[in-house]
């Protein structure tokens, strides 16, 4: 029986040979401030996603208002709604079609864990988009407020750049 490959060594071997330091930081900043979401509203959360992109909550301030219908042009897939077993193949295809670097925001309880539609004996719902591909940010709520989605995008920006550029709103 052969020994398990050393995972730490494997990660070190797979990291890019050439690193750019400051340019990497600038690239991360540029990517974080111009995340182009894929129009992937499936159910109720889609309406709150639209409201987040509309006039009051305005995703445009964060660079994310250009919703692309085609996955080839999108950076981040905001999975807003319930994933069905019939739809799961299509979702995976869309994820595969997105070019690197790509990120996934699971918006709403259905995308996180199947939401209110999980019951013993359920036959149609995939319990969370994390079962299909890796998720970067989870935004809970049913549906989450547009402000929550914006906070999710800011968390993703923090994940990309390592710093949070916008102040955290403290509830009074």
């Amino acid at each position: 029986m052969e020994a398990q490959p050393d995972l730490t060594q494997l990660v070190k071997d797979c990291s890019p040979i050439v690193r750019f330091g400051l340019l990497d930081d600038w690239l991360a900043l540029a990517r974080a401030n111009s995340l182009w979401p894929l129009t992937f509203g499936l159910a109720c959360c889609a309406i709150e996603m639209m409201a987040a992109g509309a006039s009051r909550f305005d995703l445009a301030r964060f660079g994310a208002e250009v919703f692309r219908p085609s996955p080839r042009q999108a950076d981040v897939m905001i999975v807003a709604g319930t994933i069905n077993k019939k739809m799961a193949g299509a979702v995976k295809t869309l994820y595969d079609q997105m070019p690197e670097p790509k990120w996934v925001i699971a918006m709403g309880n259905c995308a996180i864990s199947g939401g209110p539609f999980v019951f013993p004996g359920q036959y149609a719902v995939v319990e969370g988009v994390g079962k299909l591909f890796p998720v970067d940010v989870f935004v809970p709520g049913c549906p989450p407020r547009p402000e929550a989605l914006i906070e999710g995008i800011l968390k993703l920006e923090e994940k990309l750049t390592g710093k949070r550029r916008w102040p955290t709103v403290k509830p009074e």
Binding site: R56, G81, M87, C142, P143
Partner: protein, 379 residues
């Protein structure tokens, strides 16, 4: 597939024609959810458009058999999330009808006010999204701005923006406050000039008129054969509205018209919905004037409801048409069968016949004018 007979796009002579199958969806900006339409196309003309549903099937009817009546209430908001209040009204009304619970009048009037506010917000989303499909981005922003005012009002009393769970068996769980009543009156005053502005900005816009007038004619007979209801059938000239045909709640005491336009094209359906928003404002005003004092919850509603055995129906006029709940009970706490008759399924079933021979862009205008919310079909 080579088709040799001349087709609708036979401008190029007698060369053998080839059709192809174009897949619209399930991820598409204009299908309003996860609808897949398999279109057999001849160039730009649609020969056959076959909708494929089931991509957002969330087992709502199966869940009815796994939840008590009270536990099922959140599900009702999520069937058609844009008119969540009216759908909860349908379910709550069916249970109240079966258990013979009498709702106090103040609760009925508040139900009407909130349902009509919900109808306006649903029509605003339809309007914005429809114009987005046709290529105009601005009305979406105006519509969502007005909609935020409604959502602020409803959030103040229910706590939710989209999927309210406000009605309970026997009334409401929370009374409205002064802020809501004042805000509702202010909203009515704000919305009337906005509707005038929308008419000048969009409805009388020459581009919109050319895109919609004469496009997608649906006859009243076609609506009847497919069971289409709501603005689809009212846009074909039939003034069928559940609020007048089978009056429920306090609609009998309120004075409103049913807009019906006889042309049957997309413009007629568009005008029906715009006019319905004005009529809803009228209903809200009257209900605010007539709002009586009193409790908002019936007395002696059992904590755990057991309906007598049999089947019971309750129909409401949702934003998209006739929504009916059919409950079959066998005298247990859990329903035996919950059947949800949703308007979008019947409305979409005529799309295949109505879209034959249309240009693709016109077929999408027709689809938008039918006002689809796909979880309503798939439940």
């Amino acid at each position: 597939m080579i088709v040799n007979e001349p087709t609708c796009s036979s401008a190029a002579g007698t060369a053998p024609r080839e059709t192809f199958v174009l897949n619209l969806g399930p991820q598409h900006p204009a299908t309003h959810g996860v609808l897949r339409v398999k279109m057999t196309m001849d160039g730009e003309y649609v020969l056959r458009a076959e909708p494929v549903c089931g991509y957002i099937h969330r087992m709502q009817e199966k869940m009815g058999e796994n939840r008590t009546y009270a536990q099922y209430l959140p599900n009702t908001s999520r069937i058609d999330y844009l008119s969540a209040m009216t759908y909860t009204h349908g379910f709550v009304g069916a249970v109240e009808r079966a258990a013979r619970i009498v709702v106090p009048p103040r609760a009925e009037y508040i139900r009407v006010i909130t349902s009509e506010l919900n109808r306006i917000s649903s029509h605003l989303v339809w309007w914005g999204a429809f114009l987005l499909d046709l290529g105009g981005f601005t009305p979406l922003l105006y519509a969502f701005d007005d909609r935020e005012m409604i959502l602020d009002l409803l959030e103040g009393i229910t706590g939710a923006r989209l999927t309210y769970c406000y009605y309970r068996f026997g009334g409401l769980y929370n009374d409205v406050d002064e802020a809501f009543l004042r805000g509702a009156r202010q909203f009515v005053l704000h919305m009337r000039p906005r509707l005038k502005m929308y008419r000048a900005l969009v409805t009388e816009n020459i581009i919109l008129r050319k895109r919609l007038i004469g496009i997608g004619p649906i006859s009243a007979e076609l609506c009847r054969k497919y069971g289409a209801t709501g603005p689809v059938v009212r846009g074909s000239g039939v003034p069928y509205d559940v609020r007048k045909a089978e009056p429920y709640s306090v609609y009998r005491e309120l004075d409103f018209d049913i807009p019906a336009f006889p042309e049957g094209d997309s413009m007629a359906r568009y005008l029906v919905r715009m006019e319905e928003m004005a009529q809803s404002l009228r209903i809200i005003e009257q209900a605010l004037d007539k709002l009586p004092d009193g409790p908002v919850m019936a007395e002696k509603v059992p904590r755990v409801l057991k309906l007598p055995a049999g089947d019971y129906c309750y129909a409401v006029e949702a934003a998209r048409g006739r929504f009916m709940v059919r409950l079959v009970s066998d005298n247990k706490e859990i329903p035996y069968r919950v059947k949800l008759r949703t308007p979008c399924l019947s409305n979409l079933s005529l799309f295949e016949e109505a879209s034959r021979g249309m240009l693709l862009a016109d077929a999408l205008a027709l689809l938008g004018s039918l006002d689809m919310v796909i979880p309503d079909i798939d439940r």
